[in-house]
């Protein structure tokens, strides 16, 4: 009875040890435990007390193994968590796009509800696998860095290896805001472009078709801006640069798109047929509306760019 407990304890320790040291540790532990309970070998309480003194088998085994073993060692842990966050966001965004593309190919003539459903299910389908993939790749990368690569050398590094200080006066960019912006912007962009690619009633398809690649370019720019914002986390010059480019592109593209005859003549005819307006009134009213919209976009973008430039210049003058 006692012997069985001792053997079970020893087994619980040695099964956690490398094969080569198991037999010897087992024999030595057995002898030591026998010695510890020699005063009253049949006393179960004494045995329990002594075994508890030796410690939990897992802890004792770890003592025997000596060095601690990690999947991600403590020296890499912080870098690992930070990388995980960034890689996670990128994978989720990319999966959103691929999931969406998978979902919408095969539509012949979808309505808005079908496209939204397809995008959302595509997103959910891909979200989980994207998170797992991001986790697996990042973990594998850090495991390799920590176990196969060279140990971080404590004394062999240069002063220039030290990272630049975050600039103290530069405005921070909210990570959460950027992620929301990225996901919402990219999904709505994709929904919109798919609707147009598949042909919407009253839209002038021959005018829209050549513009489709520019919509994709616009979504790609959104994606790049999001990633650069996440990478820098502050309004530093690369962020200001890509954001400004994206804004300029946006305003030019909006101008080109809105100035084109993207709505078909049947649209205006339908308005004229179903309201008190004449065809000419519908056409001129719509033209005025487009002009106002273009101006709103131009002014809004200019204000936005001035604000961004202001943030950046203020921080530079303080620095």
């Amino acid at each position: 009875m006692k012997k069985a407990y001792i053997e079970r304890y020893i087994y619980a320790v040695t099964k956690r040890l490398p094969l080569a040291m198991r037999d010897d540790v087992s024999a030595e532990l057995s002898a030591n435990i026998q010695d510890m309970i020699a005063q009253d070998p049949e006393n179960e309480e004494l045995l329990l007390e002594k075994l508890r003194k030796l410690g939990h088998p897992r802890v004792l085994a770890s003592n025997y193994r000596g060095k601690e073993r990690y999947v991600i060692g403590p020296e890499y842990y912080d870098d690992y968590i930070n990388t995980l966050k960034v890689v996670g966001v990128i994978f989720v965004t990319v999966s959103l796009i691929t999931g969406f593309l998978e979902a919408v190919t095969g539509f012949s003539n979808p309505g808005i509800p079908e496209v939204i459903t397809a995008v959302l299910t595509g997103l959910l389908d891909n979200l989980w696998s994207a998170l797992l993939t991001a986790f697996a790749w990042t973990t594998a990368g850090f495991w390799i860095a920590g176990n196969v690569g060279q140990k971080t050398n404590n004394s062999d590094w240069k002063l220039s290896d030290l990272p630049d200080l975050p600039e103290p006066n530069v405005a921070e960019i909210s990570r959460f805001g950027t992620v929301v912006e990225l996901i919402v912007g990219v999904s709505f962009g994709l929904i919109f472009v798919t609707l147009m690619r598949n042909g919407l009633p009253y839209f002038n398809q021959p005018v829209i078709d050549p513009l489709i690649p520019f919509f994709y370019l616009s979504i790609a720019l959104d994606l790049i801006v999001g990633i650069v914002k996440l990478a820098y986390g502050q309004w530093r010059w690369p962020v200001v640069l890509v954001t400004t480019i994206e804004h300029f592109y946006g305003v030019i593209f909006a101008y080109v798109f809105l100035s084109s005859d993207f709505l078909s003549p049947s649209f205006f005819q339908a308005i004229a047929d179903n309201s008190k307006f004449t065809l000419a009134e519908a056409l001129s009213g719509f033209a005025t509306g487009k002009t106002v919209l273009i101006w709103l976009i131009v002014v809004g973008t200019i204000i936005d760019i001035i604000q961004i430039a202001g943030k950046w210049l203020r921080s530079r003058s303080k620095a």
Binding site: M21, D24, V25, A27, E28, L29, A31, N32, Q34, D35, M36, K50, K53, L54, G55, V59, L60, N63, Y64, G66
Partner: protein, 111 residues
Amino acid sequence: MNDETILNNLIAELKRGTQVLAVLGQLHHGRYGYSLLQDLGEKGVQIEAGTLYPLLRRLESQGLLNSEWDTTETRPRKYYVLSPLGIETYASLLREWKALVENMEWILKEN
């Protein structure tokens, strides 16, 4: 973490560094695990069995101890004794220890 845990952790940390010296000091003659544990306990050096037994193996794998199984008695036991490298290392460690004690006493006397 309460004050008592902090204190206990600090004490454990302080003792940990001295354990190897205490163990090496007892092994000029061959000893087996449990008898060494008892001797150290009697001399006021509290070291857990779960710490001592793995420590002996580690010192052996570092070449500071030699070991031998004695199977002549009713219960076979593994005896540990200082190797030549162990004797040398122990002497160096002892010198370091004495210098450390002197320095510490000097520093602590100032307060």
